[in-house]
Amino acid sequence: MTMSNRRNFIRSSLGGSLLYSGIATDLLARQEADALAPRGAHFPGRAKKVIFVFFSGGVSHVDSFDPKPALYCDHGKQLSLDHPETRGRGGYEKLFLKRPNWTFKPRGKSGIEVSDLFPHIGAQIDQCALIRSMHTSHSNHFNATLGMHTGSFAFSRPSIGSWVSYGLGTENSNLPSFMVLAPQMPYAGTQVWASDFLPGAHQGTRVQGGDTPIANIKPSLSIDQQRREIDALTAIDALHGAGRSDAPFLAARTRSFRTAFGMESALPEAMDLTQESAETKQLYGIERPEARTFGQLCLTARRLVERGVRFVELIHTGSSGNWDSHGNMADHGTLAGQSDQPVAGLIADLARRGMLDDVLVVWTSEFGRTPFNNTAENPGREHHNWAFSSFLAGAGVRKGYVHGNSDEYGVRAVEKPVHVHDFHATILHLMGFDHEKLTYRHAGRDYRLTDIAGNVVRDVLA
């Protein structure tokens, strides 16, 4: 809502009475104290908004983005490793290399190899900077998921979305600055989008889809009636506040009521996909039953960033029925059927609308999967945090580029390794932040997303 609109809005609350207009105008003249007011970055960042796509459970890098020809020819070869997931585990005394289930092909003009698991994403690979040397500090879902979102592998800390919201504020006061599209709860639960010690306004607002995307978004009365209520409320509050000089607090409160009111119509509108063409929906794979749910979420994510939401997180499935294919790698195929086209559609749609100029797309999982198992015939793969793949696309990102590499079997990130802290530092850099300076003082310490580590991966910058 623009200032002049708001002025009219409050004026209308006075019901034609001029008695109180002086008070209300005075109130409007003051700067509102607001945690979400747009704030400046440290330097001009290319990315203004982020869509963070998180595939939960651990996507196998050697079956998707990290081609390892040696795994095919050395299938069944024994290797000796002190691995966190097999150490001391009965039946895992011996480890054997295991060939991928999918074959790799060069894609796009860049010729970057992506497997048949993700043909649609593969078709968009020229937009991406693919990192094949990711590694992380923990091999448990809970800790690794927490780490990928907060930079902390043990304690509850603010999420990356909260940090970005804290750093940049919001562009649309009728919508939350950080929204999470997650039909199911991920590992680590709400800690994934918690603001923790940052002000609560930066907490991710989780949208569950369906008729009531957010609790209490639908009033039991008409919009007109609610507007009347808020008008009267604002007028009386203004009277009460007039003698008290508590203007900043009152203004913040008033604003939260106005935003709530705005959200009641803005959110359903943003989530209303009937406004999208059949062709667009097709691009996201929405007409295919298996891709429908995630396709709709990806399309909604585009609509939210279009409307000024600063950080949108998309979570593919949650803490079960996910990419954690211990039992059978074939499950990866089913999951890719639900998610490959939606993610590719999102990148393509953003690109053709020119939105990739200022929207950064991040795709990652919490870790990869072991290129080996206790037998070569074991159909599944275990958790693997020593090497995995992630990619960035859009604002400020070098296109069609592969960064780093893992060793010949995909066991260790050996060439230009990128730790989660480096990944975070790079994302913040693209948003215009020096990750060492985006800090918040809590419990006597200046905390930051990257803890006490992190280096910007300059090679992936355009």
Binding site: S156, P183, M185, G189, F197, A215, N216, Q225, L233, G321
Partner: protein, 771 residues
């Protein structure tokens, strides 16, 4: 600049306070690399101790000679390779900070201990000019501070405001109209003090005080993590409220919660109290290693006790020495060792893991003893039957069997609460490298942080000894940390505004004398909690008006100087209780199993893949106080915002403004139903529109509206009426929200119009705030 710097020692010979001015600078700029953390220490230089900083050989600081002191020289060095802190540190010292260091060295570099680690002493209250103002000794401390700045305290709040403030503060509920009327009519000088005594004797007081303790203790009704199985800890929750109500001295309150099983005269009650340390999250995930879980629980117990009683953030010491405070890694594991003797095994699967205690209520207890007696008698009678009387034997056997079945059923129905109890064989404790359960290092024995008071002589090296150490008269932290938290309840911000950190990096109290006065008095009165609360709320400081002039707000936005009364938004649980109370819906039943009031559909199901279905309660359970609402750990009650998440210990104050809160108080069933019942209450009780608006306003805010406020509400009422008379379906829908019955004699459009006014009132800034 140079000239001024040169003149300063002559002009001003006073040394800056080491603790207040010098230590924070050293801590911020030097300790990260030259502090207590041995592993992070660079160049083997340590600046947090006098013996290493002022050492004989090659001293870093030469008392009296800043220009010869390496510390000072490096702080202003021209060469980037020599300046400290180095450029890559990211923070640089400014000129005033360097000047503090220079002055400190020039005046002899006196060293002092961190304020919070020195035991507070009873000191005579200061003298002030205006002897008429103080009502309590604490007021003298506040007034001295104000007088030194030439500030006058605010006048006393008007009676109605004060009554609403103190009633909300002490019971979490607003005063009833009868209480308002009685208080307004009572002109005796001690009417306020008697009101405070009345409120302290109200059982609602214990429920109010319990809330924040439950937050700190991470109390919940489920285990957390993926499985989030349900647990029974509510008998412990009820014990907390009871303990506040009967004014259990805080030292006993402490002793029982930490070691109620180990005290010489342990009772079931003192054992229930130990449930405090069983409120940690339990990981029931299959495949988790039990020992890893067990270590996680020990971390949680040690860190919770450190934060709640000592105000120390200890968790960084899991992996390394504290960066700022003299809390070595070793001290962390020594503290943890106190908790390492219990029979808790870390195994998953059982949501209610041993040790547990059956907690029968009075009826269950008497039924149990009656049944036990009946079984015994029946068995005795059976023994007397001749061996060949098969018929009688069969009858007796059947009777015994039936009785035993009854007993078993009864036993099953008795709630079992998790408690602490030591295993027969003690465990060894090791320092764990980077906090990993399977990386044991050096073995340690139970012990308290070496920087604090000594462990009491002769005390056992177990939880009982730990508890005695916490409440020992020499402990510098327990009393301070506690009074600071109690102060925060009423003033919204602590005298130390970092209740979780009394360490070097925490805030130094602006009014340390006031804090120390409260702490030493609290200890001196035998840790009398009600007396502490009474002292605070009967003080002139508390009774001030919260109205603030622009100048005063500008000078002191957070009211740290206390030149006015407290004003801040009520916690979300109190908002709900207030709405229930003013609408007449509140059911004041005390204690018992948690209840499930309204919650938007699908919240649990979404969060748990449909494993947990939220079955909303019916009837009275919908209108109990919020403290009795079922708390599912992974998705807390939706009616609560800005609260500790109750996953791990949290003592900090949350106060934010988000639209989600407004959506809740505008649209949530609880609040809409409260508005409709408040409307009904007013429509059934009184006549004209004006009179009804006055009544409704008084019910919510304890005061009648002024003419302008009334005019806005009347105009608004008129428009709502017009609307609902045209859209009767909308009216019908609005007045049907919630499950309480509505009086059908009131026409829906009229009821709906008044519901809107009630909702407006419940959402007013004044209603959402403590004034």
């Amino acid at each position: 600049m140079l000239l001024i710097a040169a003149l300063l020692p002559i002009l001003c010979n006073q040394s800056p306070s080491f603790d207040r001015e010098v230590l924070p600078i050293l801590s911020d700029f030097c300790f990260p690399c030259h502090g207590p953390d041995a592993q992070a220490r660079k160049a083997s230089l340590r600046l947090d101790l006098p013996e290493t900083t002022l050492r004989k050989n090659d001293p870093l600081v030469v008392p009296g000679k800043p220009e010869e002191s390496e510390l000072f020289i490096r702080m202003g060095h021209a060469e980037p390779s020599k300046i400290m802190p180095p450029p890559k540190f990211g923070k640089t010292l400014n000129a005033p900070q360097r000047e503090v260091i220079r002055k400190w060295i020039a005046t002899g570099a006196p060293w002092a201990r961190h304020w919070a680690f020195v035991n507070p002493q009873i000191a005579p209250p200061p003298t002030v000019s205006d002897n008429g103002w103080p009502k309590q000794p604490l007021d003298r401390h506040v007034l001295k501070g104000l007088e030194s700045k030439g500030i006058k305290p605010s006048p006393e709040a008007d009676k109605a405001t004060l009554l609403r403030r103190v009633t909300l503060d002490l019971t979490g509920l607003p005063p009833t109209p009868a209480e308002v009327a009685a208080f307004m009519a009572d002109k005796s000088p001690d009417s306020y003090d008697r009101t405070v005594d009345r409120l302290l004797a109200n059982p609602r007081y214990g429920e109010r005080m319990a809330w924040d303790w439950l937050d700190a203790a991470r109390y919940a009704d489920t285990n957390g993590y993926q499985g989030d199985g349900e647990r029974t800890m509510w008998p412990w929750r009820d014990w907390v409220a009871k303990a506040f109500n009967r004014n259990l001295p805080y030292d006993t309150f402490t002793l029982w919660q930490i070691a109620g099983d180990l005290i010489p005269d342990a009772t079931d009650e003192s054992r229930i109290a130990t449930g405090f340390n069983r409120n940690y999250m339990i990981n029931g995930e299959g495949g988790r290693i039990a020992e890893e879980n067990r270590i996680d629980y020990l971390f949680d117990q040690a860190e919770t006790v450190a934060t709640v009683w000592l105000g120390l953030t200890f968790n960084c010491c899991r992996c390394h020495d504290h960066k700022f405070d003299s809390l070595p890694n070793r001290d962390y594991y020594r503290l943890m060792a106190f908790f390492n003797g219990t029979s808790i095994d870390g195994g998953g699967g059982n949501p209610q893991t041993p040790p547990i205690l059956a907690v029968p209520d009075t009826n269950q207890a008497s039924s149990r003893s009656a049944l036990n007696k009946a079984v015994m008698e029946a068995e005795k009678a059976a023994g007397a039957i001749p061996k060949d009387d098969n018929k009688k034997i069969d009858a007796a056997t059947a009777k015994i069997k039936a009785l035993k079945e009854d007993l078993e059923r009864l036993e099953k129905s008795i709630p079992k609460v998790m408690i602490m109890a030591d295993a027969p064989k003690p465990r060894k404790t090791f320092i764990l490298k980077t906090g990993l359960y399977n990386q044991p290092g050096e073995e340690v024995t139970p012990g308290v942080p070496s920087v604090l008071n000594l462990f009491p002589a002769g005390a056992p090296a177990n939880r009982l000894g730990l508890a005695r150490w916490l409440i020992a008269p020499e402990n510098p932290l327990t009393a301070r940390v506690t009074v600071n938290r109690v102060w925060t309840l009423f003033f919204g911000i602590g005298l130390v505004k970092t209740p979780e950190d009394f360490g070097v990096q925490g805030e130094r109290p602006l009014q340390q004398e006031l804090l120390d006065h409260l702490a030493s008095t609290f200890r001196g009165t035998g840790w009398n909690m009600k007396q502490l609360v009474r002292t605070i709320v009967t003080s002139s400081t508390y009774r001030q008006s919260s109205q603030v002039s622009a100048a005063s707000r500008e000078r002191d936005p957070d009211n740290r100087l206390l030149a006015r009364g407290p004003r801040f938004r009520l916690p979300s649980w109190m908002l709900r209780d207030q709405a229930l109370a003013t609408s007449g819906l509140l059911i004041e039943k005390v204690g018992g199993p948690p209840v499930k009031p309204y919650q938007p559909e699908g919240i649990w199901e979404e969060a748990t893949f449909g494993n947990k279905k939220y079955v909303q309660d019916k009837g009275d359970a919908l209108y109990r106080r919020t403290i009795y609402t079922f708390w599912r750990r992974i998705v807390g009650p939706t009616e609560i915002f800005d609260n500790a998440p109750r996953q791990v210990c949290s003592v900090k104050v949350y106060r934010t403004n988000t639209p989600l809160q407004a959506l809740l108080t505008l649209n949530d069933t609880t609040y809409v139903e409260a508005a409709r019942c408040l409307a009904q209450r007013v429509l059934l009780e009184s006549g004209t529109d004006e009179a009804r608006i006055r009544l409704m306003h008084s019910l919510v805010l304890c005061r009648e509206p002024n003419s302008q406020e009334a005019a806005i509400m009347l105009a608004s009422l008129k428009r709502h009426r017009q609307h609902f008379s045209m859209f009767k379906n909308e009216a019908e829908k609005l007045v049907s929200v919630g499950e309480s019955e509505r009086d059908l004699s009131i026409l829906a459009p009229e009821h709906a119009a008044w519901t809107m006014i009630a909702s407006t009132l419940l959402n007013l800034d004044e209603t959402l705030n403590k004034e």
